[in-house]
């Protein structure tokens, strides 16, 4: 089960596997747990044994940092003069390209800066061949580990001894003595100055014991381990001094290389710290001290861990775990770029998910808001439409009643006209009779409607003529008529006057106009006057004139 804030550092060596659970508290490492698995001395594939062991530790998805063995790593300090215009990345890239050309393969690399001489920029570049990394990656994948970084072992030691380095002006050597190799890290408060590994470690002593005691190496290894655990004296067995000399010579050659790179007087190493499983060999540290020009101590500066428990064995594992807590710019990661991107993404994943969730929430809120808004508008529009539909219904009913009224008017109009025609004739006759002069100078001969006055305008045909040869008794009537005969709209009044100035006729016209059912009254045009045939027409008496009036009704 993953523990929050804890990173596991896994130091997989030839002889043992060490795991350290480290968490960061207020920027300082706190060791939560240390575990170690001793591997068989010979023969077996270590990864085949480590897998089940890790499973038994219930690591789960706890982030893990693995170390790349020092012998597979090249550490190269770079110094950029003040006038060098290149950025650190560009300088590193050029250096790596040069190495790639020499190695004929693409190196994995990383770097961190350290404080060089004033005005100079200094970088510690670490490189590793992909072939050294791939087995580790394959192992982590098979073991289901949550690998967060791959750190070169010298850099891990630098992180492990950070508190010792930070306090020291002079460079401090931290040597992690493994079974077959030793990793050397030289650092000071200026930073990670130097890293190297050499072949030579605990196995030198095992083989020396086996040779002298004529026992198998595995038995000699057990003997070496039991000696280091039970012997309390600081004096090593005299049979191991030769092996120690070899180891010290290797270390001194490393220091010589460092001295050649950092020639300043204040850059002479001032202390040697010994770490690693083989460093706790009885009398080893003392023997080394007699051969070195500076103090030699066992590295026991692991925070929160008792010195009696040989914490120096776990220095690399703790360093690896603590490196996982450092920000990316303070550690040298040799994780392939794709995996590093994956790690970056994994760190960013919560933010991505949070952003996506937020965006999703906003979208959902927008959708819900839009839905509610549309529904609200639809409700409003529905109300509006219902109101308009009611108005349409009312309008339709008004139209219907109006149509009925128009129909009634249309039906009533001819009936009304027909009913009033007789009364109008009667009123007109009464009116005219009252207007005629008492001296008899004017008189009326005819009052008729226009259709009866003008020939050819008749009504409907008779039901039946008794004798087809007999002429129609009413010459005004046409033979047939279609449709509805017209209503009486115009009256014709024919009369005679003895007034040569037609004054009485004019008075008559003026008077007629005052009748409420008369629209207009005037003399009928002479061209329209209908006269009897000349043969039957009686001659006008002298001083008498005919007048014909046309009265239009409303």
């Amino acid at each position: 089960m993953a523990q929050r804030g804890v990173i596991i550092g896994l130091d997989i060596g030839r002889y043992a596997v060490k795991a350290a659970w480290v968490e960061s508290r207020s920027g300082r490492p706190v060791i939560r747990r240390l575990e170690q698995l001793r591997l068989p001395y010979e023969g077996t594939d270590p990864f085949a044994v480590i897998g089940p062991w890790l499973a038994s530790l219930h690591i789960g998805r706890t982030p893990c940092v693995l170390g790349i063995p020092g012998t597979d790593v090249i550490c190269q300090p770079l110094t950029l003069p003040p006038a060098d215009p290149r950025t650190a990345e560009q300088a590193v890239d050029i250096e790596v390209i040069r190495f790639n050309e020499m190695a004929s393969e693409t190196m994995l690399y990383g770097f961190i800066p350290f404080e060089g001489t004033p005005g100079q920029r200094a970088l510690q570049l670490c490189m590793a061949r992909p072939a050294a990394v791939e087995p580790l990656l394959s192992f982590t994948k098979d073991a289901g580990l949550n690998l967060v970084d791959l750190i070169p072992m010298p850099a891990a030691l630098h992180a492990a001894g950070a508190s010792s380095f930070r306090e020291s002006e002079q460079p401090v050597i931290l040597a992690d003595v493994g079974d077959t190799s030793t990793v050397v890290t030289i650092a000071s408060r200026r930073g990670f100055l130097f890293g190297r590994a050499f072949a030579g470690g605990g196995r030198l002593f095992t083989e020396a014991l086996a040779r002298l005691n004529r026992i198998p190496p595995a038995q000699a290894d057990s003997l070496k381990t039991s000696r280091s655990e039970t012997t309390e004296t600081n004096t090593p067995a005299p049979d191991l001094t030769g092996a120690i000399d070899i180891w010290v010579a290797e270390l001194q050659s490393c220091v010589a290389v460092f001295d050649s790179l950092f020639t300043a007087r204040d850059m002479r190493p001032g202390r040697l710290l010994l770490a690693g499983g083989s460093a706790s060999l009885t009398g080893f540290a003392g023997q080394v001290a007699t051969r070195m020009p500076f103090p030699v101590e066992l590295f026991r500066d692991l925070p929160g861990y008792p010195a009696t428990d040989q914490p120096e064995s776990f220095a690399a594992a703790v360093g690896l775990a603590w490196t996982g807590h450092l920000p990316p710019e303070q550690r040298i990661s040799l994780l392939p770029r794709t995996m590093r991107d994956e790690q970056v993404f994994r760190r960013q994943k919560p933010y991505w998910l949070a952003a996506a969730a937020m965006a999703g929430l906003i979208l959902v809120a927008t959708v819900i808001g839009g839905y509610r808004d549309i529904r609200r508008k639809q409700a409003m529009l529905g109300t509006q439409r219902a109101g308009l539909a009611r108005r349409q219904q009312l309008a339709g009913r008004i139209e219907g009643v109006k149509f009925r009224n128009d129909q009634l008017r249309a039906m009533a109009a001819p009936v009304g006209t027909m009913l009033t025609t007789g009364a109008r004739f009667q009123l007109l006759i009464t009116h005219i009779t009252g207007l005629l002069p008492a001296d008899g100078s004017d008189w009326i001969r005819l009052i008729a409607d226009a259709d009866s006055y003008f020939p050819g305008r008749g009504f409907t045909p008779p039901r039946r003529r008794k004798n087809p040869d007999e002429p129609d008794v009413n010459p005004l009537r046409p033979a047939a008529s279609d449709g509805i005969p017209s209503m009486v709209q115009t009256l014709i009044i024919e009369g005679y006057t003895r007034r040569l100035d037609f004054s009485t006729v004019r008075n008559l016209i003026v008077s007629l106009k005052t009748l409420d059912f008369v629209e207009s009254a005037d003399l009928l045009g002479d061209d329209r006057v209908v006269l009897p045939p000349e043969a039957t027409r009686p001659a006008l008496r002298p001083g008498v004139q005919r007048f014909v009036l046309e009265v239009k009704l409303r």
Partner: protein
């Protein structure tokens, strides 16, 4: 191969997160498209309907509030009641023939007409002799009936003629020259062409003095002899004795076929109102 590609465990975390985000986005957008777009389309359709309804109402000046429209409807109803009342009054006043005889369904045979003509002729001749008014021997209608003639219409023509001769008797006209039925006229409502009024015209001519003429006008407005003047020519003939006037013309008996309420409601001439579709 394809199946393994789509196994979620085989994807990197980056791919998984991306897939989750894309999937969530797709779901949300699908939801939005499936939910909002139809609703929005529905809303736009409703708006279009409303615009159309508004335009229709505005075109006929009906874009008023409901109260105003209700008042307008009430006013039209009041006018309708008034017009209907006027119509029924006029119809009852001028109907020249009893209602049971005017119905198109009235059962009248040719024999009924023939008997009625002969009876009327005898009755009117007897009355004319008693009053001393000269009545033509055949007073406008003979008893012969063609097979194509409608007995009901013939009967109504006869009734009209009888009424008119009675009217002449009533006004004591000096002489009676002619009274002859003309072809009936049917009035129809303009749009539906439905008959609502039949007019039975009579062509007539009589002679009398001015008092007779004024009495004629008076009598035609009486409910006992209601007639409408359709043509009239009042003339003082040159050869007539003093004071005699010749009156000829056409009067009609009105037969109301239907009550206005019975007429078919007509197709509206205004806008065609409709219920908006989609709901």
């Amino acid at each position: 191969m394809i199946a393994s590609r789509f196994q979620l465990k085989s994807w990197s975390e980056r791919q998984q997160v991306l897939a989750v985000i894309v999937l969530a986005g797709l779901i949300i957008f699908s939801l939005a498209f499936a939910l909002l777009l139809p609703l929005n389309a529905d809303r736009r359709r409703t708006e279009r309907d409303i615009d159309q309804m508004r335009t229709q109402l505005a075109a006929r000046n009906y874009l008023l509030d409901e109260t105003a429209l209700q008042q307008g409807l009430n006013a039209e109803h009041a006018l309708n009641r008034l017009l209907y009342s006027e119509w029924t009054n006029a119809a009852s006043r001028v109907a020249g023939v009893p209602q049971h005889e005017t119905s198109v369904n009235a059962s009248v045979g040719h024999i009924d007409f023939k008997v009625a003509v002969l009876e009327a002729s005898q009755r009117l001749h007897r009355k004319s002799r008693a009053l001393g008014i000269i009545l033509p021997r055949e007073f406008g209608m003979d008893a012969s009936v063609n097979s194509t003639e409608d007995a009901r219409q013939l009967m109504l023509q006869l009734r009209s003629l009888e009424n008119f001769i009675e009217l002449l008797f009533a006004i004591k006209a000096v002489s009676f020259t002619r009274a002859e039925p003309l072809a009936p006229v049917t009035h129809r409502t303009p749009p539906s062409d439905e008959a609502y009024l039949e007019e039975y015209p009579l062509d007539f001519e009589f002679r009398g003095d001015l008092a007779n003429v004024m009495a004629f006008f008076h009598e035609i407005l009486e409910s006992s002899h209601p007639f409408c003047v359709r043509r009239l020519r009042i003339e003082v003939p040159d050869d007539a004795p003093d004071g005699q006037i010749n009156v000829k013309g056409v009067v009609s008996t009105l037969v109301f076929m239907k009550d206005p309420a019975e007429l078919q409601p007509e197709r509206q001439t205004g806008p065609r109102f409709f219920s908006p579709i989609g709901h």
